[in-house]
Amino acid sequence: MREFAYQRTTQIRDALSSVARHDGARFLAGGTNLVDLMKAGVESPARLVDIRSLALGGISESPDGGLVLGATATNSAVAADPLVRRRYPALSQAILAGASGQLRNMATVGGNLLQRTRCAYFADPSEPCNKRAPGSGCSALGGAHHNHAILGWTEHCVATHPSDMAVPLTAFDAVVRYETLDGPGEVPLSEFYLPVGDRPDRETALPDRALITAVVVPAAEVAGKSRYRKVRERASYAFATVSVAAALDVQDGVVRDVRLALGGVASRPWRARLAESALRGGPVTAERISAAADLEVAAAEPLRDNGYKVTLARNLIEAVLTDLAASSGAASGGAAGNGAAGAGEESDG
């Protein structure tokens, strides 16, 4: 590991100007990703600016009835928060489905969004990887990629984004708030992660050296009836092969609102807008749920060894929506059963 300077800050302004002033300086939050990657030689900051003493750890209600999650609130604190559990249950479930109790006590909201991919080649500096070393090639494209992307990839990178938390946040139209030396700004999570293109090393729309201060989740009645379901290779403490965050609001048998996002399938949480619009405004039946799931995965382009994810994603969408429809007492046409989730060890979120 390269030597580095360390400093703790209590003022946002100091944190920003320190990172601006020192080349190679980085913010340190929980450290669960950054310290790990420093050990692997993937990251080599010259200075760590510890942001955990900034007053950004709060979780509060916004004036419109939504939520403001402070950037340094721990994953544990967000998952246990009564407002989160009552109004956005899929968010609590997604966080609890990720990592371990110890790691969630350390990991933060901002760090979770900015964690890097778990592609094994990315973590190994002896292998070519466009994300880590632009222009060196993508080892996963023709290599071990059974857990890589089926949507939105390019030949430059086929990695997935590993965050569980970001999946329901995407479904709920969350907005990332940040601070720079030139003033504050915000970007919707749906535009936060950049398309892969030919520069997979450029991952987010966050301005250079900006500090995430909060994630704002708008009020949404539908989110009160939401679920997160994650399929992985063991029952707990593993990253998703595919996951789904879904919310469904049914009134008089008609879908008033629906939210759907997938994890583990692309370089960013995948908002399933095709399936959403196929369902919105119409009756909730088994046939329509099934057709919506088919529609969403029709655009998938699996790699040599991950075609199983297409089936899995399709069946997960169907299963979670069917469950939600059943619990709202609105399912008809045999939709009330528990759909098959496909291959793989499964654990409910």
């Binding site: 340190l28 998952a79 609590s92 006590n105 403490y237 409910d348």
Partner: protein
């Protein structure tokens, strides 16, 4: 080596205060083991994946292999050496011994520190991924399934899981009775 790559820190470990000069790269795990000779805390994977290095940092369970020592400056650390007080084992330690909660023992300090943190999280009403009624009004009952999920960050190569779960469940029942 320039000066700003090292730091003078103060760690409170098991109620004793230590002043240390550390390289900023030092993890809390290495500081405990190599600088303070508190070798009860184990290094398994060194990447946050096994839980062997679990300690309590200001009361919360964390992995000390991904915690920099300099980050713990001023914090309260409890390791396996600090759990027993006045020559008496904690109920959880005693239960691990009586119910065979280990074979080789390598994962045990991490399991026990993790269990102490986990029981406090449960007592605070935190849900887990297997909590079915996750409404905030109810404290979930601590079933075997709950213990397995909440302890999934601690691996045991010997597969002593059934007796680890038993020791933890028994301790939680006893603590509930003695309240």
């Amino acid at each position: 080596m320039t000066d700003d790559t090292r730091s003078d820190i103060s760690l409170r470990v098991n109620d004793a205060t230590y002043q240390l000069a550390v390289d900023n790269r030092r993890t809390l795990l290495d500081a405990l083991r190599d600088d303070l000779s508190l070798t009860g805390t184990k290094k398994g994977c060194d990447h946050g994946q096994c839980g062997a290095c679990t300690v309590l940092l200001d009361g919360d369970r964390v992995v000390s292999c991904l915690t920099l020592a300099v980050v713990a400056d001023g914090a309260d650390v409890t390791t396996i050496e600090g759990l027993a007080g006045g020559g008496e084992l904690r109920p959880i330690q005693e239960a691990f011994i009586r119910l065979d909660g280990f074979q080789c023992g390598f994962c045990t300090p991490g399991q026990i520190c993790s269990a102490v943190g986990m029981l406090a999280e449960h007592a605070a009403g935190w849900p887990s991924a297997v909590t079915r009624d996750d409404s905030p009004e109810r404290t979930p009952e601590l079933s075997e399934e709950e213990v397995r999920e909440r302890m999934s960050g601690n691996l045991c190569r010997c597969g002593a899981y059934p007796s680890i779960v038993r020791a933890i469940l028994e301790t939680s029942v006893r603590e509930a009775v003695s309240k």
